[in-house]
Subunit: 398 residues, 2 copies
Amino acid sequence: MSAEALTRAALDRIAAREAEIGAFAHLDPERALAEARAVDRLPARSPLHGVPIGVKDIFDTADLPTEYGSPIYKGHRPRADAALVALARAAGMVVIGKTVTTEFATRTPGKTRNPRGPSRTPGGSSSGSAAAVADGMVPLAFGTQTAGSVIRPAAYCGVVGFKPSFGLLPRAGMKQTADGLDTAGVFARSVAEAARFVGVLTNRSGLVDLPPLPSPRLAFCRTHQWPEAEPATVALFEGLDLPEIAAPPEHAGLAEAHETIYRYEIAGALAWEDATHHDLLSKRLADMIAAGRAIDGAAYDAARRAAETARAALPGFFGSYDAIVVPATPGEAPEGLASTGEPTFNRIWTLLGVPCVTVPAGCGPNGMPLGLQLVGRIGDDARLLAAAAAFEARLSRS
Amino acid sequence: MSAEALTRAALDRIAAREAEIGAFAHLDPERALAEARAVDRLPARSPLHGVPIGVKDIFDTADLPTEYGSPIYKGHRPRADAALVALARAAGMVVIGKTVTTEFATRTPGKTRNPRGPSRTPGGSSSGSAAAVADGMVPLAFGTQTAGSVIRPAAYCGVVGFKPSFGLLPRAGMKQTADGLDTAGVFARSVAEAARFVGVLTNRSGLVDLPPLPSPRLAFCRTHQWPEAEPATVALFEGLDLPEIAAPPEHAGLAEAHETIYRYEIAGALAWEDATHHDLLSKRLADMIAAGRAIDGAAYDAARRAAETARAALPGFFGSYDAIVVPATPGEAPEGLASTGEPTFNRIWTLLGVPCVTVPAGCGPNGMPLGLQLVGRIGDDARLLAAAAAFEARLSRS
């Protein structure tokens, strides 16, 4: 199919559903069609030539507004595309529009509803990208994760979310909130499609065509956050026919270390916004920045050292397993749009920088999707994804 | 002294010398004076309240053009200040102007001359910041280092350059070229002033007032790059009354690993510039991007793993020493302005993420400054700087 036909199909779906879902922050159908027609005039540049994508409105785009989910940036039009946007376009993909982000990818929600239950949050901060893929508006979308902003919305919306190893996807032109945590990621309808998307963008043939790993060695770990798991998640894990490994002691303080690093770093990253447009920040974010400003550099350094120590011990955590299965979220997407849910089961993996992928794993008591998260070794995203693809196939058979 | 008086003094020096030195890319004296007067109306916000600073034109400023040393960004005016600029202003410092950077902080020079010998390069990429501090235009300035862009120009110009541990200074709003390497740093006239500058910006009392370390344990290392040292540098090391340690074997491939990572990452970071404004890139940079695009993700991953292995072995390298003394540059600043010299002795430390500081160490056969570089443990910038301050005092006595 031509890029134009794929783009028209995406725009048709959006036209039918956007009023209910609210996945897009900025949409210009004529511009998207023009981009698609230009792509159709080129020879195929990648296996994803002509594929329409959604771009979280935390990535700069030169030809679409970029507001980072904040009124401070109302009407902002960056000079350049973010690296990932430019690389996607160089590979022949078509940017359909900018998807809704929470305020600077933090906790204050946008307008998006969960396509699987519109009275519920889609999760955040990559709310629009998760919802757009879940609703069939686009097959692929970009997100970012600083706490749980890819894995959580993917699980809540019933799609695949992939947060690669820290540093695998380029971050130039992505609005920075916490340099040591911000990680670009993707949404897709299958593990193989997520892998291919990342493989095309980063010149990794081993991801473009994921080799099969028919019998992945998997274990599950309840993690130190297990008391936060809701009954639906507990039931999901009781049904797993996998060996269990204990949560390592050095993971115990990582959720707090993550919070210290996030606050300290966001106070620096948004120092201009706080100094010049304080009144346009949500109270929640203004409080977070104030808390970050009060953190001494030595406390921040100690949190980073705790993460480094746990990172050095990861070989022992993984042992001989290809991936470890952990909860993706406490449970189903909560009712209401005032909160995007909790990143309880995501923070420590983001801090560690390990690759994470969530695969749909049935539904909870309210008929809302649940996900299971697989975590892998830093830099071995291919092995994690191959294991996740096999696990996905197993779940779809059960 | 008032901020206005300090700013006037800086502007007077610039007016007298800028035609010869060419340190500034953008200068608006009236704007700087207005900023200074506004600062004078505030209560003192930090020990550096009222101090004028130079800002490398790789950092975004909302009230001054930001061109990244490239015609692609002619007249560009970002929406926001970079984090470091906002933090400096929040601490009461006054931005005098934007200092010259090479093209996207790479190798293609700007107009700046070395104040210690105007027929010679000041080094790069932070050419203007090093020259402005060396010439007494400003006491402090921001730079960045991706290969050798702080340490090299500081040594060539005879000032202190400090590249903190990777991640210590926030990078939001700093034009990204290589996410895993780009490091913000500072120029000052003494180690104590460099430490105070960074301490104020990052809420680190241990740097604001650097505790004395009267007898630092120092060793020197010729490094695997020693064959590139010129006679002046060789003579400098023969005069050091310090124990010598060998260059670790795991450092042998790091210069190549650095180059692989730099090329691969810049091809992503500047993908938009390359796709839309290829003809406005220098041939040198266009070639570098093309080379980076040809690098397979697996080769990039291998280079990152080599760095990680060497990082893990750093405790053995440092042993019981507080810091290791290594060359800062091959020799004196080369004649001519067509090249900014070589980052030979800087690349591997940037890749490792260790903090580095160069202190002036006399002159070479042409009367141009030489520097000695001290490297320290990741995250222990305070110890490195205390050792460097003691070493600086010793050099000034000799």
